[in-house]
């Protein structure tokens, strides 16, 4: 018994030491002990599992140009939580690469620092991508790529690109497959993939506050268009076009199995569809006849500067200068299969890339996914209202009203 008990005591003492090291606010314990000033000579970037391999390849140029070691650390699934927890304790990386819709939350939690981009830099970027990282009139991250969902069409089953959503449903039904269209809904609803339908019916989430930011007090979920959107979910559910048993786990495989001629999904599905060796095309999601265009959400990947960065100079240089150069954006785009945020780089990238061009066409009407913290209150209630409508458990008006009420309560509470 004894040795083991001593061993555990040692482990707990070590754990105590590690915990204490966490609180000490500098992460150079491995290298900085002997030298006086605590320069670690290492820039740390945190990213998710998709972005990490891309960034590891990408930062080599920066390393050689400035003689700084750059470490990219992968945080699977819990990047945002990890970053928040580490940074609020004075730990964490210099830079975090993540989607723009976290901006409001990260800024409001005081864990990222704003950056300044000159007017010329801003105008060279995709206009929506700059809006996407703007909160409270200030830019908080450097956008480097944009993505949105689009319509995958199995060209063997549906040779013609539909011009309206009605045509799409008709073509899907005519194809005689098990499903006309595959849109992830799931038991919890899927606002991200459902938004094009919602927006085409005139629905919106947050109005503008007139200063380039979104106004959490102007909620469009139960607006006239919003109610129409939920009614449409119900109608499509009744017609069997939408179903809560179709979710993110099975849509792509059903599509590649030929169970439906249409799939609404994003660039992350390209690889699977290509592997299946089918004939397909990517294009815009059509809107309903006589209604607004179907606007998908625009997702922007951005570099954020930690408010606790140890190496502010190098981190700022990378974020505000390096990644915004045309060559760099192009390199990131090619490594990551996403359209660059920099307009000039995007033009080069889209030439001869049919899939990317298809998504770009689908993204023409895209609106940045709301980046204010209030958006966190939207996902769940909106999704449940959507699922209820698709299941026929609730009328569009009821679902919209309940969801809007829940969202307003949650916003007022926070």
């Amino acid at each position: 018994m004894r040795r083991r008990t001593i061993g555990t005591a040692a482990v707990s003492a070590a754990a105590l030491g590690a915990a204490a090291a966490c609180g000490s606010g500098d992460d150079d314990s491995d290298s900085g002990e002997e030298s006086g000033p605590d320069f670690s000579g290492e820039l740390v970037i945190w990213a998710d599992e998709t972005r990490t391999p891309i960034l590891k390849e990408y930062v080599k140029d920066f390393e050689s140009q400035f003689g700084v070691k750059v470490t990219v650390e992968e945080h699977v699934e819990t990047l945002r939580e990890d970053f928040l927890t580490a940074t609020e304790q004075g730990q964490g990386p210099d830079i975090m690469v993540g989607p723009h819709d976290w901006t409001g939350q990260l800024a409001g939690d005081g864990v990222i620092s704003p950056i300044t981009l000159g007017a010329d830099v801003q105008s060279a970027l995709n206009e929506a991508s700059v809006r996407a990282v703007t909160v409270d009139g200030q830019i908080w991250g450097a956008p480097y790529s944009i993505e949105n969902i689009g319509l995958f069409r199995n060209t063997d089953l549906a040779p013609e690109a539909p011009a309206t959503f009605e045509e799409l449903v008709q073509a899907g039904t005519d194809a005689g497959t098990e499903n006309a269209l595959l849109i992830p809904v799931g038991v919890d609803g899927d606002p991200y993939h459902g938004y094009p339908i919602f927006s085409s019916m005139g629905g919106y989430l947050f109005g503008s506050d007139g200063e380039g930011s979104l106004d959490p007090n102007d909620l469009g979920v139960d607006s006239e268009g919003g109610v129409a959107g939920f009614e449409k979910f119900r109608e499509l559910g009744e017609d069997g076009v939408l179903s809560t048993s179709i979710n993110g786990d099975n849509t792509v495989s059903f599509f590649t199995e030929g169970r439906a001629p249409f799939l609404i999904s994003g660039p992350w599905s390209i690889a699977d569809v290509q592997t299946a060796g089918m004939n397909y095309e990517v294009g815009a999601i059509p809107g309903f006849e006589g209604r607004d265009p179907a606007a998908p959400f625009l997702g922007v990947q951005a570099f954020f500067l930690s408010s606790k960065a140890d190496n502010v100079t190098f981190a700022q240089e990378l974020i505000t200068n390096f990644v915004l150069r045309e060559d760099d954006q192009l390199k990131l785009a090619e490594l990551g299969d996403r359209v660059p945020a920099l307009t000039a780089a995007a033009e080069t990238y889209l030439e001869g890339n049919a899939d990317a061009a298809g998504f770009a066409a689908a993204g023409e009407n895209a609106v940045p996914m709301p980046n204010i913290p209030a958006m966190n209150a939207v996902w769940e209630p909106f999704g449940r209202a959507e699922a209820d409508c698709v299941d026929g458990a609730s009328t569009g008006a009821d679902a919209a009203a309940t969801a809007a009420q829940t969202i307003r309560d949650a916003i007022a509470e926070s």
């Binding site: 004894r2 008990t5 105590l16 204490a20 700084v68 005081g110 300044t116 100079t313 240089e317 913290p373």
Partner: protein, 515 residues
């Protein structure tokens, strides 16, 4: 390993002594390793705690008396580290507003709010930045205008144009008369000092540095300690600190972007009890939670006992094969199994609906979802009951059963009057622990239904347990409210503790009856 240890505890063998020295040396070196960052950070209280822990460990194992202590110390230390400290911290958090929007302290909140007021002057010059000092030791920015390539030195007095300078290939100054120019590393290290340096270029504009560049800009926001407020000179907004709620608000009640952590007293608990919606939700979850735990125990026990009785019959053939099959659900990882069950209950392509010719929306209807949760959990849990029942059955005294048979007790009566009571004596504690386990069976619900079904606007799902509900409050919908979630978990802790206390008391009574 084991006998080395016991030797060390008893007599001083060479191996035992060496083991002791090695382990204590490891403790000492770990302590030294952990102490360095503590000293550097000036975390003296933490250092004191660490020293105390090490002292206790060394004292305990370097003396020959107080043998019980040698067994108690590690357990006690672990108990404190992993049980008591988290509980104390949870209690502490439940009295704060810690959560999104209130993560940092006030100083950091002020810092970020002020930083968000920096604006670049339109059409102003941008510069490549180098840092350095004048010969007098004053900090200086050494700037290269990116437009015309002119060179400037910026100090507290303002900008002065430089004559002869050396630059690198990008145009950044590497040497200038009268200045020591830093290399990039030093610039990076001393960034904070340079950022503090105010280089005025106009009435309210100055040079702002960013990375290896600089630009002319203004900072429109200022914090005033006297009024404890932040003023934005561009928009005229004044945010005053609200120390009770940890945020800056304008007179109209508009909040500044960042808030900070403060104690909010009993607010979180008050919210639990005053919010009518929350209260009814809580009651509903509580009742279902009890039913889920009780139902799981009942069904798994019934099924397990039935299977065990069947296999325990004399003359039953192929028991080994049956037993292996029965144990399968127990042997497979429940994580994977639960996900498989979730797929089987899919309304449109699930096995259950297809086999039985049903069209039940298992995840969408409250009672269907609850039935599904119980069915799945019964399947996952019955092999355990089967195993312990089989063991208990085989250990039953044969003479009691025989006596009952002689007295004319038929199968059912014998089971009801003899077998079951005898079984329950040994199994009740296990049933109670099974109840406690299922009361907090997070995995079964979270992985199977995730609390579904939710009606639009519901905070609580039809199959939510208290534990899944609390988890969602803290981490679920990506807006975290740790303060409130801590209050919820304290509440759950009280409920579970009360139920356990009552049940253990009942068990003791029952044991007395049967014994």
């Amino acid at each position: 390993m084991l006998d080395q240890r016991s030797q060390a505890a008893g007599s001083q063998t060479a191996a035992g002594l060496i083991a002791k020295i090695v382990v204590l040396a490891v403790v000492a070196s770990l302590a030294a390793w952990a102490a360095l960052p503590l000293i550097r950070a000036g975390a003296w209280w933490a250092l004191a705690v660490e020293a105390a822990v090490v002292a206790i460990v060394f004292y305990t194992y370097l003396q020959r008396r107080a043998v019980p202590l040698k067994y108690l110390v590690p357990g006690t230390l672990l108990l404190i580290t992993f049980q008591i400290i988290p509980v104390i911290m949870t209690i502490g958090t439940s009295f704060s507003n810690y959560g999104d929007g209130h993560r940092v302290d006030k100083d950091q909140a002020v810092e970020v709010i002020i930083a968000a007021g920096v604006q670049q002057t339109p059409d102003s010059a941008t510069y490549l930045l180098a840092g350095g000092e004048t010969t007098a030791g004053e900090l200086a920015l050494l700037l290269t205008d990116t437009a015309d390539g002119s060179h400037w030195a910026g100090t507290e007095e303002g900008l002065t144009e430089l004559g002869d300078v050396e630059t690198d290939e990008t145009g950044r100054i590497t040497a200038a008369d009268g200045y020591t120019v830093w290399d990039l590393e030093e610039l990076n290290e001393r960034q904070a000092e340079l950022a503090e340096l105010a280089v005025p270029t106009g009435a309210d504009t100055g040079i702002r540095i960013q990375g290896l560049s600089a630009f002319e800009g203004t900072s429109t926001r200022e914090y005033d300690a006297d009024c404890d407020c932040i003023t934005d000179s561009a928009t005229g907004t004044v945010w005053t600190a609200d120390d009770e709620n940890g945020r800056f608000v304008t007179e109209d009640g508009e909040e500044a972007l960042v808030g900070w952590r403060v104690g909010v007293g009993w607010d979180n608990y008050a919210r639990l009890f005053t919010d009518a919606e929350m209260r009814s939700a809580f009651l509903g979850v509580f009742v279902w939670n009890l039913a889920f735990a009780a139902g799981s125990v009942l069904f798994t026990f019934a099924l397990g006992l039935g299977a065990a009785m069947a296999l325990n019959r004399p003359g039953m053939r192929g028991t080994k094969a049956y037993r292996a099959i029965m144990i399968l659900p127990y042997a497979m990882p429940s994580f994977a199994m639960i996900l498989v069950w979730a797929q089987m209950f899919n309304r449109d392509f699930g096995l259950v609906n297809e086999l039985l010719g049903l069209n039940v929306n298992w995840f969408g209807e409250t009672w269907a979802a609850r039935a599904m949760a119980l069915v799945t959990n019964t399947w996952l849990g019955f092999p355990y009951m089967f195993l312990i029942c089989l063991g208990a059955l085989q250990a039953l005294p044969a003479d009691s059963l025989e006596a009952a048979k002689i007295d004319g007790a038929t199968g059912t009566t014998a089971f009801r009057k003899i077998t079951l009571p005898l079984l329950l004596v040994s199994l009740t504690p296990l049933l109670i622990s099974s109840f406690a386990f299922n009361f907090n069976n997070f995995n079964a619900i979270e992985l199977l239904t995730g609390g579904n079904p939710f009606r639009a606007g519901d905070d609580v799902g039809g199959t939510d347990l208290l534990i899944t509900y609390a988890f969602r409050q803290a981490f679920g919908s990506s807006t975290s409210d740790y303060g409130f979630a801590s209050a919820v978990s304290m509440f759950i802790f009280l409920i579970v503790a009360t139920i356990s206390a009552i049940m253990f008391r009942t068990t003791r009574k029952q044991e007395e009856v049967f014994a």
